[in-house]
């Protein structure tokens, strides 16, 4: 034997087989038809020692180029305080299952309760679930939730200013779920209220999803949206960057019924796209249509405060095909990540993150325009991300920047280039990015 993850000695195996009344390990598969027992060689390498594995993975990680990130588009290079990785690595958190046994899962249940509370604080809505897979799938769940909350309607409207990947994932879910999707036009970089009103007139719309901070980085003015949607008995849903909600008007303040988005912006590593965590929040009236886990406060037999998974009658393990969603697990450990991040940053820190990102992004914006190689696209307020037009072919620009250690000027599918600045970017980095671009001309 002698493999470090398997504790069995030959003697153990002999004794255990004897207890079972089997002659060999193969006998445990005697009920499997012979033709299905795999007898070939797996196309896998021989076992590696831990040292060799470490070397192999260091080599692969080394094949990635280390770039200074000046792009967002749904994944933001915010700073992650050292405490977070340290705490979420505690194996009591990491190696636990979904907290079904409340008596030995109070750690998980409490941080989810804290997470839910913090999401309601950020969004200004009443309830949050325990987290979703990512922002895009949270938006898809929000869409299905809107349908469940509004009887006899089968259409959902999506703003064209949502991130492309959010539109695509929601579109995929809608196609199979049998939801009719309409797109609300963009007007000068923001969602057109006029087009929305026109499309609402048919009274068949269950919900409308609009971004607070859109694909161009613009802070949308959603004045009048909630009234328009509610007048036609639909739900207003917003897709909102939770980090930005420390400073921009909240979904609750806009009159939204449901809010969703991606917690990645709360300091989570970029990690090529995951794991992140989606969030989903709603007004009290809709909580029983919410998908996924929800933690509630109660008391134990001795009257002590305790936490449990609750409102489970919504969920797949009880309702099966009639459940509000098929979702089973959440992104629990990433919800813990967000919770610790928000605990550390707190009220003032999250404002400071936004202030630094805002200052840096506007500095870069001004400097890029002053090169004469870029022109503005929209004249709208933005927070940390913006698009410009450029006389330099976008592909050449991005390639040149990559060659010089920058990931910036991502070409959008509508012909602009996108930039983003977080609190991690220094004036020196921004200056050298601009110099690098100027040197091209």
């Amino acid at each position: 034997m002698g493999f470090s993850y398997f504790p069995h000695t030959d003697e153990d195996i002999r004794e255990m087989l004897k207890k079972i009344g089997a002659g060999s390990l193969d006998d445990l598969y005697s009920d499997v038809p012979e033709e299905f027992i795999f007898k070939g060689e797996f196309d896998l390498p021989e076992p590696m020692s831990e040292m060799e594995v470490r070397r192999k993975f260091s080599g692969m990680a080394g094949r990635n180029r280390s770039l200074t990130v000046f792009c967002g588009c749904g994944a933001y290079d915010h700073y992650s305080p050292a405490v977070i990785q340290y705490l979420i690595s505690r194996s009591e958190f990491q190696t636990a299952y979904t907290p079904y046994q409340a008596e030995v899962s109070q750690g998980t249940l409490r941080y989810i309760f804290e997470y839910q509370s913090m999401i309601t604080m950020l969004t200004g809505l009443d309830c949050s679930n325990a987290s979703m897979y990512d922002g895009a799938t949270a938006a898809a769940e929000a869409m299905m939730m809107a349908l469940a909350c509004t009887k006899k309607k089968s259409r959902v409207l999506l703003s064209s200013t949502l991130l492309p990947q959010v539109l695509e994932v929601v579109g995929t879910y809608a196609r199979y779920h049998g939801i009719d999707i309409g797109h609300v036009q963009m007007s000068d970089g923001v969602t057109s209220l006029e087009d929305l009103q026109r499309q609402l007139a048919a009274d068949d719309v269950a919900g409308v999803l609009v971004p607070s901070l859109n694909r161009y980085g613009i802070i949308e003015n959603l004045e009048g949206f909630a009234d328009a949607v509610h007048a036609h008995k639909g739900l207003l849903m917003t897709y909102s960057d939770p980090s930005a909600l420390a400073v921009i008007r909240t979904p609750g303040e806009w009159g939204a019924d449901i809010a969703c988005g991606d917690c990645q912006s709360l300091g989570m590593p970029l990690s090529a796209g995951g794991p992140y965590a989606g969030y989903l929040a709603c007004r009290q009236d809709y909580v029983r249509k919410m998908p996924g886990r929800i933690v509630g406060e109660t008391v134990d037999r001795d009257g002590r405060r305790s936490y449990v998974l609750t409102l489970q009658a919504r969920e797949q393990h009880i309702r099966r095909e009639k459940a509000t969603s098929n979702i089973c697990s959440n992104q629990s450990l990433m919800a813990l990540y967000a919770t610790i991040y928000l605990s550390l940053l707190g009220r003032d820190g999250l404002r400071q993150v936004n202030a630094l990102s805002y200052g840096g992004a506007h500095y870069l914006y001004d400097r890029l325009l002053s090169t004469g190689l870029f022109s503005p696209v929209f004249d709208k307020p933005f927070l940390k991300e913006f698009v410009l037009d450029t006389v330099i072919p976008a592909e050449r620009l991005q390639q040149h920047l990559c060659d010089n250690g920058f990931f910036a000027a991502l070409a959008t599918d509508d012909g602009h280039v996108s930039f983003c600045v977080t609190e991690k970017r220094t004036r020196e980095e921004i200056d050298s990015l601009v110099d690098c671009i100027s040197n091209m001309a």
Partner: protein, 484 residues
């Protein structure tokens, strides 16, 4: 700290900070944003120092039970040991700092991990290709069903909207089908727990999209009629979906692709040792036969002849199911595990899991009721105590186990038995641990007769005791509110 009972909000004191950020020296300031777009209310986020945060979450962690704490025989969940080297490879800065939209040529290492993992999963399952995008098992099911529907729809076979699910299946199976717009029809189990082929036959017609199965099934029993079932379902034009929740005992021994399955998902957080994280992040890759390659969601990693990796999309793709390319760091952990095991040790994983399950079953079947007495695979189900005179329930047994320092098994699932106790020991548990567990289970069986009150009131030594779930559901308190 004994009896720790704080929420982070209750530690908050005006004026404390837990962050350290640079001073703001930028010319542009937030007040430039038009007021109508600005947040009006205070967020109410806590104000706590860094040591407060560290101590609070360390205290919370001590109220949890994980695989590293002790034996976790949770049926259907495969709570195997999570190797620590996995965490280290996944945290390499070369991986964690990659932006998902970076150009392919700047993330070749990331794409290589994806490609090598896909190849390894194909090797152990006998499938032709995998998508790594799905975030979890249920998400994998949904993605697999989307592929199934896309296949039928692209052949203009629009009436195939019926999916057959065994009555013993996990709740996510019918729920995923419903989200995917499919109609669910149940097929019965025989008294020995496997699919009733005679009940299946009349369900098979030209509206069948496919059947969802686990094998071994929810009772840990191998579906010996799988060849006939595959022939029947394929014969009517349907596809076979394999739910990989129970893949662990087959690891290194039997491949779903060889049994006739067209689509399957794996749970990397079960079979491939990545931690469950208290309910995620997981990863639920979906594998398909060669004929279905073109239907996989995008982005899909491919390799060209020169050792370069690319992202692409098939021409009949089911679409995008994740914002980017899935839970990448979970993939690093799974590939690390596979590299550690290698061709040789992976052959032992399944058989040792089956050995442990059968050993516990045989050691306890005289005092717990074993409804189906057959060789099992990774898990098995008891239906309460053999001696039912005490009226002790599965719940009470499970709660009492917590007092003995073990996590509880899965209870009241599958729904086929009233007092289901589903036990899955996994291959990483030693005989000593199993013997201690067996001893505890035998003690509990004795206590049921001699001092049943100790079971009625269990658990006794846990951070909290049994909670009032009815109160939680009827008067929901779902967030912290400051006491005025």
């Amino acid at each position: 700290m004994k009896n720790y009972d704080k929420l982070i909000f209750e530690l908050s004191v005006e004026g404390r900070t837990g962050f350290s950020l640079p001073d703001n020296r930028w010319e542009h300031r937030l007040p430039e944003i038009p007021e109508v777009l600005c947040r009006r209310s205070e967020s109410g986020l806590p104000q706590v120092s860094e040591p407060d945060v560290v101590r609070h979450y360390t205290n919370l962690s001590s109220m949890n039970f994980g695989v590293d704490t002790g034996f976790y025989p949770l049926g259907s969940c495969t709570m195997k040991y999570n190797p620590k080297i996995n965490e280290e490879t996944a945290s390499l800065p070369g991986f964690t700092s990659v932006h998902p939209l970076q150009p392919e040529e700047t993330m070749q290492g990331t794409l290589q991990v994806c490609h090598e993992l896909e190849k390894a999963l194909c090797a152990v399952t006998g499938m032709a290709a995998f998508t790594l995008c799905p975030f979890a098992g249920a998400h994998g099911e949904l993605t697999g069903l989307m592929i199934m529907r896309q296949y039928h729809m692209s052949r203009n076979d629009m009436k195939r909207t019926k999916v057959i699910v065994p009555d013993s299946a996990h709740g996510t199976n019918p729920a995923s089908a419903a989200v995917c717009g499919l109609r669910v029809v149940q097929v019965r189990s025989t008294p020995d727990g496997t699919i009733d082929v005679e009940d299946l036959k009349p369900l098979l017609d030209d509206t069948v999209a496919g059947i969802m199965m686990t094998n071994p099934n929810t009772l840990g029993l191998f579906e010996t009629e799988i060849s006939r079932i595959a022939d029947l379902v394929h014969g009517c034009g349907g596809l076979l979906y394999y739910d990989g929740a129970n893949m662990n005992p087959l690891l290194g021994k039997v491949r779903p692709g060889d049994m006739g399955f067209d689509i399957m998902h794996l749970n990397l957080h079960k079979t491939f040792s990545t931690p469950h994280g208290g309910g995620g992040p997981g990863s639920g890759p979906v594998g398909v036969s060669a004929a279905l390659w073109d239907y996989l969601p995008y982005p899909k990693v491919t390799a060209d002849g020169d050792g370069k990796y690319h992202l692409m999309s098939g021409s009949h793709t089911a679409g995008r199911v994740s914002g980017f390319m899935g839970n990448f760091s979970v993939m690093v952990k799974a590939l690390t595990y596979i590299m550690m095991l290698g061709n040789k040790n992976i052959r032992m994983a399944g058989p040792l899991a089956a050995l442990n399950a059968n050993y516990v079953k045989e050691s306890l079947k005289d005092c717990y009721r074993l409804p189906i007495d057959r060789v099992c695979k990774h898990e098995f189900v008891f239906d309460g105590l053999a001696d039912t005179s005490s009226g002790i329930t599965a719940l009470e047994i499970a709660k009492r186990l917590l007092d003995y320092g073990f996590h509880a098994p899965t209870i009241y699932f599958p729904l086929l038995f009233h007092q289901a106790i589903m036990i899955e020991p996994t291959e990483t548990e030693s005989k000593d641990t199993l013997d201690a567990f067996i001893e505890a289970m035998r003690n509990i069986a004795r206590e049921a007769v001699s001092e049943p009150d100790i079971l009625h009131d269990a658990p006794h030594g846990t951070p909290v005791r049994r909670s009032d779930e009815t109160l939680a559901a009827t008067r929901p308190v779902l967030r912290y509110r400051q006491v005025e």
